[in-house]
């Protein structure tokens, strides 16, 4: 970036009309970056929440803010980063000059940054600090069969990179809806410890409920749904992450919150803006 004085940052995320936790990490990363005073303005915009992507066009005063860096808070390139965001923000390519002279720089999504590998390793260590990696399998979980996203490809890439370090006994990319299936973790891994990190931008139904059910830990955490008169599932409040490790078939399973909730995401967002500024 030439100077942060006239530069603003726009973090773009999906958001949700049903999941109250969807935008929380994005708002938290924005607040952290704002605190660091790197940019003259830091705003968020969402596809499914407010401010909308269309609102975002008006969030930055063209007279005082000459440049805007748009960083998609997405795990991978895909339908949203390639079609929806450019269309809604009226971007034409990496650099767009608005009629008012404001320059918008469209950056790479957060999930594509090289630092993501380190962050996944950090998350795996944080959730199982006493586990020796050589005695553990690390599972990176993505959705899979998601027509809109290439998150499965991104998870595979990250798993390959971590595998190359030779630290963990095994490193696998697993999916919710296509093989290798997360529900097959018992067959896919042999080590006494299994560390599972969801490769998602935020926690929600997938990380709170779907993956725990597929892993077979939802019941162990006492969070089975649907029993009449039972309290709301503890998973809804992130309780599922506080009951590690889960002892299953003589093995220990450690389940981490979605990678996107890691405070380290704020650094990567800034890095993606920096990278666009240098090119």
């Amino acid at each position: 970036m030439s100077s942060n004085k006239g530069s603003a940052l726009l973090i773009v995320a999906h958001g949700s009309t049903v999941n109250p936790d969807s935008s929380a990490p994005t708002l938290a990363h924005a607040a952290e970056i704002r605190r660091r005073k790197i940019f003259a303005g830091v705003e968020c915009a969402f596809w499914k929440e407010e401010p909308s992507l269309r609102d975002a066009i008006f969030l930055f005063d063209p007279e005082s803010l000459r440049e805007v860096y748009v960083v998609p808070n997405f795990i991978s390139e895909g339908y949203f980063t390639q079609t929806v965001i450019p269309r809604e923000l009226e971007l034409n390519g990496r650099i767009t000059k608005r009629p008012n002279g404001q320059i918008w720089n469209y950056c790479e999504p957060v999930g594509s940054h090289l630092m993501m590998t380190e962050l996944l390793l950090k998350r795996a260590h944080d959730v199982a600090p006493d586990v020796v990696p050589a005695e553990a399998s690390l599972l990176i979980v993505a959705h899979g069969t998601d027509l809109n996203e290439n998150s499965a490809v991104a998870a595979k890439r990250e798993a390959e990179k971590i595998r190359a370090f030779g630290k963990y006994a095994a490193v696998l990319n697993v999916y919710m809806e296509e093989p290798p299936l997360v529900s097959d973790w018992r067959k896919l891994t042999e080590s006494p410890n299994v560390v599972v990190v969801p490769f998602f931008i935020s926690d929600g139904l997938h990380s709170y409920e779907d993956i725990p059910i597929l892993l077979g830990i939802a019941g162990a955490a006492g969070v089975d749904r649907g029993r009449p008169g039972s309290p709301p599932p503890a998973t809804a409040h992130g309780e599922i992450f506080r009951q590690n490790p889960y002892a299953i078939d003589g093995r220990k399973l450690f389940y981490a919150p979605s990678i996107g909730t890691d405070p380290g995401f704020a650094d990567i967002i800034v890095e993606q803006a920096n990278a666009a500024g240098k090119t």
Binding site: S16, T17, V18, N19, P20, A24, L27, A31, A40, E43, C44, A45, W47, K48, E49, E50, P51, S52, R54, D55, A56, I57, F58, L59, F60, D61, P62, E63, S64, Y79, T83, V84, R87, N100, N148
Partner: protein, 227 residues
């Protein structure tokens, strides 16, 4: 550096209303924010930082998630005390994300509005089909979905199409008038809910383009017809 939103604050008499929020000046310094309906109650849970607004705005009185922050269902029973104008601005932006900036753009004359048909024609993927909605269906849907008493407190600035047809012929003219305080809109004739008291000044919540929720509703209308 010029700051449009600060200029707005400087030119505003306090107290003022913003959607369902009343902004008052505190005796010592700073501001206190509360739900307009709670203006005379003392037993309110007190919050003291702008980020408190995120949690307050998230759920309605019944504990349901609020997907549309400008819907007239802000929860009651809280007060938010803020020390400075910078925090006031952040808090109001958590309550009604983006609305201050859009208002500033409107005041400065650079806000662009987009007709609903243009928004619909631009959609791709699962929302592409939404463009098939008919004009009378739009009229009914907007009347129902955007009405200030039960749907949304924004003032509609967009038109139905390029011919600048009004978005809904059944909504009162005030729904399209930024000077009017949507927070005081009363319910349908004969409704028991009294209108909220008007504040001295109000900052309108502007709608320059149909939101994603309305687009999703247009799609639903078309889809429902297909079955």
């Amino acid at each position: 550096m010029r700051d449009l939103i600060e200029e707005i604050f400087n030119g505003l008499p306090v107290p003022f209303s913003f959607g369902q929020i009343l902004v008052r000046r505190r005796e010592c310094a700073g501001f206190v924010l509360l739900h307009r309906d709670d203006a005379s109650l003392d037993l309110l849970e007190t919050y003291r930082d702008a980020e408190g607004a995120i949690g307050i705005a998230k759920y309605d009185d019944a504990g349901n998630y609020r997907p549309l922050k400008t819907a007239p269902n802000l929860r009651h029973g809280w007060r938010l005390e803020l020390a400075a104008v910078e925090e006031l601005r952040r808090a109001l932006d958590y309550f009604y994300p983006g609305r201050l900036a859009v208002f500033a753009a409107w005041k400065s004359g650079y806000l662009k509005t987009t007709a609903l048909r243009e928004t619909l024609d631009r959609q791709s993927g699962m929302y592409r089909v939404a463009a098939k909605i008919s004009d009378p269906q739009i009229n009914d849907l907007v009347t129902d979905f955007c009405r200030s008493d039960t749907g949304c407190l924004r003032t509609i600035l967009w038109k139905r199409d390029r011919n600048r047809v009004i978005a809904s012929t059944k909504l009162p003219n005030e729904k399209f008038d930024p000077v009017y305080d949507q927070g005081t809109a009363s319910g349908p004739p004969g409704s028991a809910t009294p209108a909220t008291a008007a504040a001295a000044a109000t900052v309108p919540l502007l709608c320059q383009e149909a939101c994603n929720l309305l687009v999703a509703e247009c799609r639903k209308v078309v889809k429902d017809e297909d079955v």
